[in-house]
């Protein structure tokens, strides 16, 4: 029954509305809610702007739809029925990095992909947050010894939360994301990590044998990532 006032559904907010109306003039009863009621007769709250923003940020996050390897399957299950990450206000996957504020790194990062991942991360709007999902994103996981494998996402971008597992169960990922939300709401930030692998212009690299050898193949203003495997953990 569309013409039934909302209070018959949500319960009466009458006493409050009465007082408020007396103070502020008439308000359409559809805008009433339990939350409104909780604010009492004076619908104002006093808080620090930053705190309020942090609370808003943590309560509504958009995830980047970003699948890499096996962990992304469990990530899909986390979004989907049964686990339904969106219950916590954090599970709407966006296809474009411009619309997302959290990126989950679900898988193994290899040499060819790291520059792209950095690029995708750079394209996200500030403030942005990173959740590492699984051992691969943390350290290279089972493939750490591989000739082509980056030893963890932290070698390329800063990371806020690590969720261990191979793959972590959806419950674990939910826990990790909720933990991140909590931290954001409280305004806590992660220590900035040292990032050994940067995107830089080829011409800016220090010259050595390898650079000289590739000079004919790569333009000086091309972006490159240089891996010094011997220094990796």
């Amino acid at each position: 029954m569309s013409d039934t006032p909302s209070e018959t559904i949500t319960g009466s907010t009458d006493p409050m509305s009465k007082t408020r109306e007396a103070r502020m003039g008439e308000v359409d009863s559809r805008f009433n809610s339990r939350l409104r009621e909780a604010f009492g007769s004076s619908p104002f709250i006093l808080t620090k702007f930053d705190q309020f923003m942090n609370w808003v940020r943590g309560s509504s996050m958009f995830m980047l739809q970003f699948g890499i390897a096996c962990c992304s399957l469990e990530m899909m299950h986390t979004y989907a029925v049964k686990h339904d990450l969106d219950r916590f206000g954090s599970g709407v996957p966006r296809a474009s990095p411009r619309q997302a504020d959290t990126i989950i790194i679900p898988g193994t990062i290899v040499s060819k992909f790291a520059p792209r991942m950095k690029r995708v991360y750079d394209q996200m709007a500030e403030p942005k947050f990173v959740v590492n999902m699984g051992s691969c994103a943390i350290s290279g996981g089972p493939f750490q010894e591989g000739y082509n494998v980056i030893k963890g996402a932290e070698e390329v971008i800063p990371v806020d939360i690590h969720v261990p597992g191979c793959p972590p169960r959806p419950e674990a990922l939910v826990y990790g994301v909720v933990k991140l939300q909590e931290r954001i709401a409280q305004g806590e930030s992660s220590p900035v990590t040292v990032k050994p692998y940067e995107l830089e212009q080829f011409g800016d690299l220090e010259r050595d044998e390898l650079v000289d050898k590739l000079a004919s193949q790569i333009d000086t203003d091309d972006l490159v990532m240089r891996y010094n495997w011997a220094d990796s953990p």
Partner: protein, 555 residues
């Protein structure tokens, strides 16, 4: 045709391939003969590859190049072409092409089998053999600027590498237009919702039409072959197959490794364990096909809609069963050489009941999918007669699995190269003649029904199995050291097609060469055939219908 038959028959006897007749056919090309455990290998000169392969294909009927294995020995390089027949995959022959250390050049096989194109690029990339006359001699998995060949013997893993980030410009930037032909260059991926992971398609468009598409893979090349070569046979390799096709094709992949290693080391598997393996593998197949179905519809309808959620719901059910059985939702590590890790979960009745409940609900779920998907007009418009792949082309590209069966190729290793408990059970191989995206989906949906039949029979068998005969593992030595210089190539039917493993033993407890024949790799290679000249939207549908898992494509 009628003339050809008897001719091909010359090369076959009651026991299989008549290798002496093949040797006579190849005549002077043969420098020597090697015996691999799966087939005889004929050693030939590197500049006569095409003559030999043409003879084997056209005269003797070996129309399926499974895989090309490249490896380096202390004194030479070697490429092995593993040939089979689509009609009877138990008929195999290997062609071994050694090349010298200082001049590792061998003739390309691409004119004979199109699929050799990618396989030889990979061989060049990882091992360093060059193929003369190859139409496209680039690296395939590693970046163009990579130094050295990682599976070569003298590769130094610690040397620095530089990787470029090219073509990151806005796709409609001016220099992406070619003003003469009015085509436009478009990057799809490597981060794109429709590429099912990290695949990069370099596409050239003329308006809405695809002029050229070049799949650029290797964004998930995580050195699976190196990892397997670093592990010991008995326990250290088994966790990795779970991570090739993580849809999860876990148990099917593990079986691929187990089958090769068991035949290599001559290990028996108790019958009871075979039944459990068969049941587990089919559960994985259902799970995997459900993912294919869900994501395919995600590609076609474009959002996380009901079908995707339904498919995920059914996957959850299967994953629960698999978790009860193996202890893990995805990464099972459940098979052991010589059997399985442990028996069914106690109480057994509960497991049987849960599984039966799932199977009982399945017909209804399938009907729901048919209502939502296959009988939906929009879906039909998008998929019928798009992405057509005719059978001859599919064979040229080495396509297998649902992709081949949807083009009418009746090829299923569970029946044609029997293993496990499949021959004792009652089930059918599903084929469709549609050759299009729609047919590929139908094949998967019908295969789910067949898998359910298999599981049902396995459950019945397991329930009645006498308690004293429940042997889950045979006796296997603590350390396995297969005889030096034994080589084997064995394949199983995974969810995506023929998953083959080549192992060469060198007398130690680790393989000297471990090569994975990934079905997705070959299937993805057909994408340009299916989509060039079609609309770009159909390209996305075709890609979805191939059901690739990048972990398996790139390994």
């Amino acid at each position: 045709m009628s003339l050809e038959r008897p001719k091909r028959q010359q090369y076959v006897t009651e026991e299989g391939v008549d290798y002496d007749a093949i040797e006579r056919l190849l005549g002077e090309h043969v420098l020597g003969r090697e015996t691999h455990l799966n087939a005889e290998g004929f050693v030939i000169r590197p500049d006569e590859v095409q003559d030999v392969l043409f003879a084997l294909r056209d005269e003797a009927g070996f129309d399926h190049l499974s895989v090309v294995t490249a490896q380096e020995y202390a004194d030479r390089y070697e490429s092995i072409y593993h040939l089979k027949k689509y009609d009877d995959p138990t008929q195999e022959v290997s062609v071994v092409v050694p090349t010298s250390k200082d001049d590792p050049v061998s003739q390309t096989a691409e004119p004979v089998y199109r699929t050799a194109d990618w396989h030889e690029r990979e061989a060049y990339d990882l091992v360093g053999i060059e193929y003369e006359g190859h139409p496209d001699p680039r690296r395939i998995l590693l970046p163009e600027t990579w130094q050295g060949h990682p599976l070569a013997l003298d590769y130094d893993q610690d040397r620095p590498q530089i990787v470029t980030l090219a073509e990151h410009q806005n796709p409609i930037a001016e220099d992406h237009y070619d003003s003469d032909t009015e085509t436009m260059f478009l990057n799809i991926g490597p981060h794109h919702p429709a590429t099912h992971g990290v695949l990069h398609l370099k596409t050239v468009l003329d308006g809405e039409q695809v002029v050229d598409v070049d799949p650029d893979i290797g964004y998930l090349h995580r050195c699976e072959e190196q990892m397997a070569q670093n592990g010991t046979y008995r326990h250290q390799i088994m966790p990795y197959p779970d991570r090739w096709d993580y849809a999860p094709g876990g148990l099917m992949n593990e079986w691929g490794y187990a089958r090769a290693a068991e035949d290599l080391a001559d290990i028996d598997v108790p019958e009871y364990a075979q039944v459990i393996r068969t049941m587990g593998a089919e559960l994985c197949r259902i799970c995997s096909h459900m993912l294919a179905l869900g994501t395919f519809c995600l590609d076609i309808y474009g959002d996380f809609t009901a079908i995707f959620m339904y498919a995920m719901r059914d996957r959850e059910k299967v994953q629960n069963l698999l978790e009860d059985l193996t202890g893990s939702r995805m990464m099972f590590n459940y098979l052991r050489l010589g059997g399985v890790a442990w028996d069914l979960p106690e109480p057994r009745e509960e497991f049987f009941e849960k599984t039966r409940d799932f199977l009982d609900d399945l017909p209804e779920a399938t009907q729901e999918y048919h209502d939502l998907i296959t009988s939906n007009e929009i879906f039909q418009i998008r998929t019928v007669d798009t992405g057509v792949l005719d059978p001859e082309t599919a064979k040229q590209y080495g396509a297998t699995g649902p992709v081949a069966r949807a083009s009418g190729i009746d090829y299923d290793l569970r029946r044609d190269d029997p293993y496990g408990y499949y021959p004792e059970l009652d089930w059918d191989v599903v084929t469709e003649d549609g050759r299009d995206n729609y047919a590929r989906l139908l094949v998967r949906m019908r295969e789910v029904e067949q898998s359910a039949r298999i599981i049902e029979q396995c459950i019945d068998l397991l329930e009645d199995w006498p308690e004293e005969d429940r042997e889950i593992q045979s006796n296997v030595p603590r350390t396995l050291r297969p005889d030096p210089d034994t080589e084997i190539y064995r394949a199983v039917e995974a969810a995506k097609g023929e998953l083959g493993i080549y192992i060469r033993a060198d007398g130690t407890d680790k393989p000297a060469r471990f090569k994975i024949r990934s079905p997705c790799f070959s299937n993805l290679h057909t994408l340009p055939e299916m989509s060039e000249g079609e609309y770009v939207a159909d390209l996305v549908a075709s890609l979805g219908s191939l059901d690739i898992i990048l972990g398996e494509v790139d390994r």
